[in-house]
Each structure stands twice: as structure tokens, then as C-alpha cells.
């Protein structure tokens, strides 16, 4: 087995636009990059039986999620010629309109960055042990299900 350097992806609470801007700005030194692809998940104010969601409270089996993410990262770097890939997922409460997921891939030409970003999002949703508890405005809740 290859030596693992497990990176953390979890951040406490919502992912702020300023954090994303910072992450983008850091890439101006990487002048081999020609295209960046970003996906951001935002908490929707869904209405369910007359009640509106006010936030999602995320929990994860962190160790296992980070191991899985490491595998996905390795697969994706093997499959696409990427210059970088950054992934952040919220834990704890993220209110409607706030960002809970930030996936950022970069490559010399646009197509690998775009394809990799989309694939990472798909795999992350299917494979990472993360759970979202949808909290309604009246403090009741239900558990999110990825369709």
C-alpha cells in the first residue's frame, strides 16, 4: 500500500465566499493552470408539507470519510491531468443560502478540470459517510436523502 497522507476536508459550519476567494487567489502563482472548475453545494430552503428547512446539520464518520476521500482523490489524479484539487465539506449547522460543499479542480486546459470536478462531486455524495439532518423552522427535523 502507498503511504497515505490523509488530508482533512471538514470545516466547521458554512464555507464562506471569502474562503473561496482566498482559495482562488492562491492559484495565481500556479501559472501552468489554464482552467479552474468549481462546484458549490448550497443549502436549499425546501418546503416539505408546509414547513421550510432552515438549516442542515452535518455529521460524518470522519475517519472513514477522509480515507474514502483520499481514495477518490488518488483515483481522480490518476484519471485526469490535474494541477490541483481542493475539497471542503461542512460539519455542523449550515443555514439555508449558505455553502456546505466546495470542490475546486484545476488543469492546464479546461476539460480535465471540468470532468474531474463533476466526478468528485458525484463520488463524494455516493461514497462519503456524511449525513445531513434537515432542520425545519419549528425545530423539528428529518434526515436528508441523496437521490
Amino acid at each position: 500500500m502507498s503511504e497515505k497522507k490523509i488530508k482533512n476536508i471538514f470545516v466547521d459550519g458554512p464555507i464562506k465566499p471569502a474562503f473561496i476567494a482566498d482559495s482562488i487567489a492562491k492559484h495565481s502563482e500556479k501559472t501552468a493552470i489554464g482552467g479552474h472548475s468549481i462546484f458549490m453545494g448550497q443549502v436549499r430552503k425546501d418546503e416539505i408539507e408546509g414547513k421550510f428547512i432552515s438549516a442542515i446539520d452535518y455529521t460524518a464518520y470522519e475517519d472513514l470519510a477522509l480515507e474514502k476521500m483520499h481514495q477518490i482523490r488518488e483515483d481522480i489524479f490518476e484519471k485526469y491531468p490535474l494541477n490541483c484539487m481542493h475539497i471542503y465539506h461542512s460539519l455542523g449547522k449550515v443555514k439555508t443560502g449558505e455553502i456546505c460543499l466546495f470542490v475546486f479542480t484545476s488543469s492546464a486546459h479546461r476539460k480535465p478540470a471540468i470532468a474531474a470536478c463533476s466526478e468528485v462531486v458525484d463520488r463524494l455524495k455516493a461514497e462519503l459517510p456524511i449525513w445531513g439532518k434537515e432542520i425545519f423552522e419549528d425545530e423539528t427535523h428529518q434526515w436528508k436523502e441523496n437521490i
Binding site: 453545494g41 452535518y58 455529521t59 460524518a60 464518520y61 475517519d63 472513514l64 470519510a65 480515507e67 465539506h89 456546505c100 460543499l101 462531486v121 463524494l124 455524495k125 455516493a126 461514497e127 462519503l128 459517510p129 456524511i130 449525513w131 445531513g132 439532518k133 434526515w143 436528508k144 436523502e145 441523496n146
Partner: protein, 77 residues
């Protein structure tokens, strides 16, 4: 045999993290049987087990001091 059980999401609402000391649970199929007897609500739910941080796809032997995670369908992102 000692098993550490941890649970997540919706399942954590009715199964607390706990250490159990039981005999006769040789593999993950037997563990599922045990679980569903103890917590009948599980019977009608989809869930997966992770044995020592490996997600279980097929019946797998359980050794002493294993950690088993009980996980409802993932909903990250």
C-alpha cells in the same frame, strides 16, 4: 467477544454508541441478526456496516475488539 458499536445519522437517534460483550457473533451477518433483534426499527431501514473502517460488501468475520459502524444511506453534499 467485545464489539464497539458506533452509529450515525438517523440510526444514532435510537442506537447509542456502546461497547457490547457477546458470544456467538462470528461474522457481520450474525451481527446484523443480533442488531435487528435488539433494534427492530432497523429491519425496515437501509443501512450499511463498516467493520474497523471497512465498509462491508459481503459477510465478513468479526474478531475480538472490533469496531462496527452502523450507517444509514449517506447524504453529504
Amino acid at each position: 467477544m467485545k464489539i464497539e458499536m458506533i452509529s450515525f445519522g438517523k440510526i444514532a437517534e435510537f442506537i447509542n454508541n456502546q461497547k457490547i460483550d457477546v458470544d456467538g457473533i462470528a461474522d457481520t451477518d450474525a451481527f446484523k441478526q443480533y442488531l435487528e433483534n435488539q433494534f427492530p426499527a432497523l429491519k425496515s431501514m437501509k443501512y450499511k456496516l463498516a467493520l474497523n473502517k471497512n465498509i462491508i460488501q459481503e459477510n465478513t468475520e468479526i474478531t475480538n475488539n472490533a469496531t462496527i459502524a452502523i450507517m444509514p444511506p449517506f447524504s453529504g453534499g
